[in-house]
Symmetry: C2
Subunit: 653 residues, 2 copies
């Protein structure tokens, strides 16, 4: 039997939920909408189905208001309608301004499912959107299918005139309060750290309630809860809300610290995987294209959850018109294309790619409205040229942006080719821009790409050079020079954010400098753990101590202590140590290029779309098992075809 | 003191309310959303103001959720915030998905008013939108400022097992029911006619309530209410909801029937003037660009309410992207341009014109995606080539559509010139298309424009020829031929709708055939009154009788009995009998070309933007008074400058 599900305009469910997320941020009892445009589903959805039947019935349940048209005649929704034997054309119109117009058709003939069509006004009939979870009339598609688990505090302490509760680990969810006095107002302070919960002036998230004996507060992130005044019978529990995901990838080695880091990265990352990839579970709880790019890479070596990536990509892009960069950030628009490409190569979902490509082209067209007279991408007055929190010379056209645009042209040319469309335009733009970037930005004397050709300062930072190596824009010779003159040059200012550190480590690993990678993970992530981190922080500066670590953006506790972009080691271990990556969409072919670095033993699994690759190093040997065909192992200069389910064992030395 | 008002993104208030209207249609307890795309305000609005002060306070009331930023620091809304002496940058961000994000700033320094700015994301700072009505924090801008009047039924009759109430005349509003039994369900049938209210199966609008002793039902149009079952103490009243408009224009003559027709046109038209121009107050209660075009022309000779025209024009256009014709109808997109032009010429509101012009250009660009290989406008699969309910040969490119496109190019060229922008592109397109229309569609043998050049049928209908004369596309010679071979040719099928009859009468009057105009008004509108119409019907066929008049679109009572487009005589009397019209934007200059037709006496007033023109014919003389300068009277081949407030008296003969 076909599954009966709620249906909607393809892509609108994703946009609805990502927008809800982006409008849900709060800080010190203020609402904090995004500074960028968010989108909503189409206000009216039109569904259609041709049916041949011997008779039967339909009942249309709608999320919104509308009617049913059978062979041109209108009927009400929520009513059992009999179909006469024969051919029928069924149309359902639903409006829902601000919500998600959707329909669930109960029927013995044509239950709503993926075989239904929708039409966006003057557009063509296309397949509907749906999610298997919403398989009964009473499941509201505006309610996201999270999983829940009740958590009890592990400790309760009276502190001054209040009670401090500790849940033992960071979580996200509803706080349930019982035993309050209806005539007494209570104040609730949420803390990722104990100090944050207790600092009633500067706590990031707070609440205040009165008038009842029990409360369920809205979903928030916390480990500590401080409630004032002290109420003797007050009891709290938390309804932890999370996305039910299954770990598909794993990694372990003989270094306990690194195993611990990996495990905290997993916990941190999972908390931030929700409707889409969030940047941090306390703050911002927004979906940012740059953060999401790193999250996609991490996800592919852990949960390999295609759906969250597609929700994120769609939600970021939103709806037409595109008249602003994603998150207002130039580089984030460009990174979106690269994310889409890496997503496609991993999962090979051509349906998704072909659906989203027309909007991708519109985003690129929008970006090209920002080209300067030399053909380089620049920021318009309201655009944010971000790249990183770093002293980059941002005079005129910034080199790192051009690197991303070069790669955007490359991935667009690849993607349209996969869809059977000529890539000539993108290939030409790619070649032309790449040559121009070399001509305008490569500085032979410095042996590196400079930030700006317009300022005359010839300033070199790591950023553009990292992108140049990451995306193979630098020649082999240039790459060597960049490693020497930039990456391993202490005079070039160090990267300060885990965001860009993720890219730097990628490039160090790609160029074979695994010992630098391990050193950085041990010192930076390890240092964070030593400083008390249970989950990975948004930023870490070894020079700070105590609660100084919790400050950021001018707020004493405004740093996110559970930030997705800190989970980069998951990707690095999978991509460069286990060494598994696709070479054709959907892992139809893939490579395994393992490298144990300095580890004596190392084991792990990488999901490869309907299969896994397991890599296992002990002190003597390497064992590799792939459960599906298409794999090639590269080891010690030789290549080996991987036979499904046959473990290939080779000497380690 | 400056007025303190709610502010929003310019244009969003109009779009919010017109969309609400378009989603409010109901039929036999079904919701009936439009088949065309509707728009909503931007989800997030950003307001901004630079302030220099000696100190003071602000309290930000928001319609939606958000925060206030003073000099970069965030503060909550709904809270009194003190400003230190000096310069401050104030930003307010409000989100409201599905609603109208707006803010009301209470302040002794910078109360929200027209001096505030808003920014649509990456756009420039522009003036906010506001309406003087919303001048206190407790007035919700999502609630439209209608006026209300309690109406009592004039008669109550027991009919079978129910009660029939008659309110004496059609009205629109809330029905209040008192004296019901909570445990008894009652059914309510709304009728524009008594027969409709009593026909429980086929009544267009019905309701069903239970569980309370009194009810306020939602706003609907009706004259009759039938309630079943009969409940002895049941009492009903109606809260009539209407737009408070002042009559600025008037017309009367010695023909009582025509005065009566004029008066019913006024009542009919006023009922349909609400958030925008509705087509009919019972059905569809939608805003259609074609109907609205006629309404604009009528309005200018009656209420001269600029605001309702601007709300209608904006609401019809909606938001980007434009990927569908207005109301799905090719001709309605084109008519929108012409409406905008005639609106501008009347009121001369350059601010409005310059705000809406970028979107107008996008609509034209969209239209041009529908040009065929000969450069003529055709319908794509989901487009509706309407023109009129008539047998037009719609093979390929339809002539009447090209006439409208020619005029659209003309009005666009005029409008951009008024804004100081070069019109060369539009002028060239205008000349080119006009020449091509003549070459492809003018049939010398028929002495008329044919419907289609592609079918080979050389079919002639009135429609394209009427447009050709109305918009001066036909030469003088062609016009003469059209009057003879089309308009006065009984072999050419007659117009059947008051919609197109409005255009035909315009052209007959323009070509000096006032006796035909009077004959048509007397027979068609007069016939409707004889058939029992209190308000003007959507359509009238003298061949029908009794309740046959109430049927349409396959429904026994589906005809609208109070339809705006039937009010055309108001325009005809003002434009061609009183003869007043602007010759420069905002009536800076204007003409008075009165013509009493066959009337022995005729009086009337036409509003002319801050003034009036009064025309008064008795049997001997013509008296014309204008209250402002710029007017020229044309009478009996002579022209006379009109001196403000000086009555010019001339012999009638």
């Amino acid at each position: 039997m076909r599954k009966n599900v709620w249906i909607w305009n393809h892509g609108d469910w994703e946009i609805f939920h990502i927008t809800r997320v982006n409008l849900r941020r709060e800080v010190r009892m203020m609402h904090y909408p995004t500074m960028w445009k968010v989108s909503l589903p189409d206000i009216i959805a039109n569904f259609e189905k041709e049916v041949d039947s011997d008779g039967g019935y339909i009942i249309c349940h709608t999320n919104g208001e509308g009617n049913v048209r059978i062979d041109g005649k209108h009927y009400p929704t929520e009513t059992k309608l009999q179909l006469s034997p024969g051919h029928h054309n069924i149309k359902i119109h639903v409006s829902n301004p601000g919500g998600l117009p959707a329909v669930f058709v109960e029927s013995d003939v044509c239950p709503s499912d993926e075989s239904w069509f929708c039409r966006r006004f003057s557009g063509e009939l296309v397949s509907v959107g749906f999610e298997p979870y919403y398989d009964s009339a009473d499941k509201n598609p505006e309610s996201f299918p999270f999983a829940y688990e009740t958590k009890l505090p592990v400790a309760k302490t009276e502190v001054e005139n209040g009670c401090l509760f500790d849940f033992g680990t960071e979580l996200f969810g509803f706080l349930d309060i019982a035993g309050a006095c209806a005539d007494q107002e209570i104040c609730i302070y949420y803390g990722e750290s104990k100090e944050e919960a207790l600092d009633m002036e500067r706590t990031y998230v707070t609440d205040r309630v009165s008038g009842k004996e029990s409360y369920r507060l809205k979903q928030r992130a916390f480990r500590y809860i401080y409630i004032t005044p002290a109420v003797s019978n007050l009891a709290i529990t938390a309804e932890h809300e999370y996305l039910p995901l299954t770990k598909q990838g794993s990694f372990s080695c003989d270094d306990k610290l690194l195993n611990e880091i990996y495990s905290r990265c997993v916990y941190t990352f999972h908390l931030n995987c929700r409707e889409g990839f969030l940047d941090g579970i306390k703050r911002d709880r927004w979906v940012w294209a740059g953060d999401a790019y790193q999250c996609g890479r991490i996800n592919r070596y852990l949960f390999a959850d295609k759906a969250i990536e597609q929700r994120t990509l769609r939600g970021l892009l939103g709806k037409e018109p595109i008249d602003q960069h994603l998150n207002t950030i130039l580089d984030y628009s460009l990174i979106w294309f690269i994310s889409l490409y890496e997503h496609y190569i991993t999962y090979g979902d051509k349906g998704f790619l072909s659906r989203i490509m027309p909007m991708a082209e519109k985003l690129l067209t929008f970006c090209e409205t920002r080209l300067n007279e030399d053909g380089f991408l620049v920021g318009a007055p309201q655009d944010w040229v971000f790249i990183d929190w770093a002293d980059i010379d941002k005079t005129g056209a910034v080199c790192a942006e051009q690197m991303l645009l070069v790669q955007a042209y490359f991935v667009m040319s690849e993607m349209v080719k996969y869809l059977g469309i000529s890539a000539a335009i993108y290939e030409e733009k790619y070649e032309k821009l790449k040559a121009k970037v070399n001509a305008f930005y490569w500085n032979e004397e410095k042996g590196a790409f400079i930030d700006s050709y317009q300022s005359g300062k010839n300033n070199v930072t790591r950023h553009a050079n990292i992108f140049a190596v990451m995306y193979d824009i630098a020649t082999e010779e240039q790459t060597k020079s960049i490693v020497e003159h930039v990456l391993k040059n202490d005079e070039i200012p160090a990267i300060t954010t885990p965001y860009f550190e993720g890219y730097e480590l990628d490039v160090l690993a790609k160029t074979g400098n695994l010992s630098d990678v391990e050193h950085m993970i041990t010192s930076y992530w390890g240092g964070m753990l030593s400083a008390g981190a249970d989950t990975i922080w948004e930023e870490y500066d070894p020079a700070l101590s105590g609660t100084e670590h919790y400050a950021m953006y001018g707020g004493k506790f405004d740093k996110s202590l559970c930030h997705a972009w800190g989970a980069g080691p998951i990707y690095l271990f999978g991509r460069y140590y286990l060494g598994v990556y696709p070479t054709a969409p959907g892992f139809e072919t893939f490579r395994v290029e393992p490298n144990p670095g300095s580890f004596e033993t190392m084991q792990g699994t990488v999901p490869i779309m309907g299969g896994t690759v397991t890599v296992d190093f002990d002190r003597e040997s390497l064992r590799v098992t792939a459960t599906k065909s298409g794999g090639t192992l590269f080891w010690k200069g030789n290549s080996y075809e991987l036979i499904p389910d046959k473990t290939l064992t080779l000497p380690r030395k």
